[in-house]
Symmetry: C2
Subunit: 454 residues, 2 copies
């Protein structure tokens, strides 16, 4: 049997040339976006006023299984893809497990995460449409960084509204974006009507993602030649992120490896949705029976404790309604260190798959997550992002179960990015001052009570 | 002709299995280390009191051209090596140059730089000798991070003395080291005699690299089962870093690429010495005639404006004397943002090669370096470390000369690491507040006047 290398790389000619659109093969399609004013599905025309035309079309496309990756996007992918599928030999040895652990590492680019896969696709759509630029919001900053980088490459203007508290507490993230030429505005700001209104009502507020979304959308629709872009949750984003899963499957197939368990962290769902898409296709078609596990923070448990209902995608309630597992758009997640997982809802695609019983979900506490992150870092030589470490925690748990049973299962997980900009979090863990939070049933009920009545 | 991919990766079976020891092929050997008390060459026994035995032997080995990489070190290398040789297609296009630009990227590991190549080799030597642990100093923190990571992997104790001002100003670097299980002590400290002495004489001092070296050496020689390790300058370090050059040469040969110019940044010389070693071998043997360029900061110009003389390796004057291009061990380099290049001297091997006319050297201002770094980052998708960006600056300059002459030269440079922990520097550049400093002749003369009389 061929020895499996530490890192399985695809050759350039083995790289996927089309994204895979899981919706085409789903038996129960994800529910459509609804116009909150009419309760009717949003039209392509409505979406195209906010999003780039091509992306709006992708958002509504439930039929084409494969959508060709534009040549320009493929050229960009070639700069940092294919990403390696790493065999975690050292972690296996440390755990003393017979399991084989693999992780798809998406942190090898300056954005530091998988977000770049969609950022370049969205920026390219804007460029092709002849737009001047795009607007977006960012919280922790991974998406903003990725988008700034993609826009810089394509010479597009990039206007990022960054939650003010993050703008001040994460100056490094802000400077990476500025280095790539983006303008970064702390939100709420005086540059938009909604921003001025919020500032008048809440002087000195540190802002929120909901507010930043509202500002970014307003900035897009009131500026000539701009559209709004978003880094997760949307169908189009999961489509672009399918590159992760396609490469993972191709790499496994090179060595005849059949995964038993596939694990990913889940916030809005962009990483998990991308990673599992081709495996879920095989599962839906009855060709394979993988266990697929979404891992979410115990402090923001949209799948494990949320409701499957129509809700706004943002706290400011300016977006269409999406049917998803949600904690309610008024739910304010605990200020955990996994900023990328602090989202009240979950991608409609993943929500439907979960509701159909095709996927499991578990939630984990952040102190347990960081313990797993440190254990992983010490042997594997990678400092993982807090978000990614949710998947690490469950991968380790599953590997330890294999140790008990003696099973040599193949465990595959997504390692979405690096933790270089999360050292305050590691410091807090190292100092023993990190805390956990699990919302009470009463808190969750309050969130559900505020769900829109559809 | 085969198209050259964006990234040239070696297969695992193409990885070098031995380090290359350039000293064996140098016509004029580097001058030996001297005992400052006697003026005589230091013996293996003397060196072994401070360094691990195997490393002391490597330090003095001027005869063996190839030294096998221990299997355990090779296994560790496999976790993050081979590193890619990247064709900078996007930068070439941006510059409109006919030149072909390649960079060897050493930042794909948590230490974020090439330092890990020697850290694991040194930690392994300590482990093999049955030691409990090692001590070292760190300024900017790249070396300390790499050593902490290597020691964690081998379950060795790692005690890092970190210059106090860096300890306070770079909490993230400190936390990465702690995450890998190292103890990090701000220097000067109360834990050593020399530290207490300095604190008594200079209450409230922010420390210096010289002081941290003195503390780390004292901690090693006064603790049972410990030795001191160092991340640059030494012959053994250049030996370990030859892995960079060997991989680069193998990758170029796969596509029949003959470099015209090879460029590296130079502080103590570990990266440059490693990168150029096999190319310098071919040059010495008359098989090729590459231009080899060392790039140093204008604020710390040891090669371009220094003296070739015996000097202490540290400011505290506790080390043996090394013959090198030096600004004098009392020279305090300007607080530039390229902490890894703020060293008063240069590796004895590189100093001899430079003195023999086998290598060029240029110095560059930091604002020009950061302009090049930003230009590079925006098209190549990598945020380079300030140190690495010195090489980028000259690579761009050479590529622009090719644009004028129409020559399609092959330019190869070393990209030693990422700039994730240098965002204050980028912020200062982005804000237009970054300054330059070029020492006056008088300042340099003062440094030379303090050189030891040998």
């Amino acid at each position: 049997m061929t020895e499996i290398p530490y890192k399985i790389y695809l050759e350039e000619n083995e790289m996927p040339r089309a994204w895979y659109n899981l919706r085409a093969d789903m038996v129960n399609k994800p529910a459509p976006l609804l116009d909150p004013a009419t309760g009717k599905p949003v039209t392509l025309e409505q979406l195209s006023a906010i999003f780039c035309s091509e992306l709006a079309a992708q958002e509504l496309n439930n039929t084409d299984a494969y959508i060709e990756i534009p040549q320009e996007v493929f050229e960009f992918y070639r700069m940092y893809r294919p990403s390696p599928l790493v065999r975690a030999y050292c972690l296996e040895e440390k755990l003393g497990t017979p399991a084989h652990i693999y992780y798809k590492f998406e942190g090898n680019n300056t954005s530091g995460s998988h977000k770049l896969n969609s950022a370049i696709a969205q920026a390219y759509a804007a460029k092709k449409q002849g737009l001047k630029g795009v607007t977006t919001e960012t919280g922790a900053g991974q998406w903003g960084t990725a988008l700034a980088m993609a826009c810089s490459y394509l010479k597009l203007d990039c206007r990022v509204y960054m939650v003010k508290v993050s703008y001040e507490q994460k100056p490094f993230r802000r400077e990476v974006m500025r280095t790539y030429g983006a303008s970064v505005t702390p939100s709420p700001s005086e540059t938009t009507e909604v921003g001025r209104k919020i500032l008048a009502e809440h002087p000195g507020t540190g802002g929120s993602l909901g507010c930043a979304i509202s500002e970014a959308v307003e900035a897009a629709v009131t500026s000539d030649g701009y559209r709004y872009v978003l880094g997760s949750v949307l169908n189009q984003v999961l489509l672009h992120q399918s590159i992760i899963g396609l490469e993972t499957q191709a790499a496994l197939q090179k060595y005849d490896i059949v995964p038993d368990i596939i694990i990913g962290c889940a916030g809005g769902g962009s990483n998990l949705g991308g990673l599992i898409s081709p495996f879920m296709r095989d599962k839906i078609k009855g060709k394979a029976d993988y266990r697929i596990i979404a891992v979410e923070p115990a402090s923001c448990p949209s799948l494990t404790r949320g409701r499957y209902a129509y809700d706004f995608c943002d706290t400011g309630k300016v977006t269409p309604l999406a049917k998803m597992y949600t904690l309610g758009c008024d739910f304010i997640p605990f200020a955990s260190h996994a900023g990328g997982l602090r989202y009240h809802g979950m991608s409609s695609i993943l929500s439907q798959l979960y509701d159909d019983g095709l996927m499991e979900a578990v939630s984990v506490k952040q102190t347990d997550v960081f313990a797993a992150a440190v254990e992983f870092a010490r042997v594997e030589g990678l400092l993982p992002a807090p978000e990614s470490s949710h998947a690490i925690k469950i991968a380790i748990d599953e590997a330890l179960k294999c140790k008990e049973t003696g099973e040599a299962k193949n465990i595959v997980f997504g390692l979405t990015g690096t933790g270089y900009f999360d050292m305050y979090a590691y410091e807090s863990f190292n100092n023993g001052t990190m805390t956990d939070y699990i919302p009470t049933d009463e808190e969750l009920e309050a969130g559900f009570a505020a769900l829109p009545k559809i």
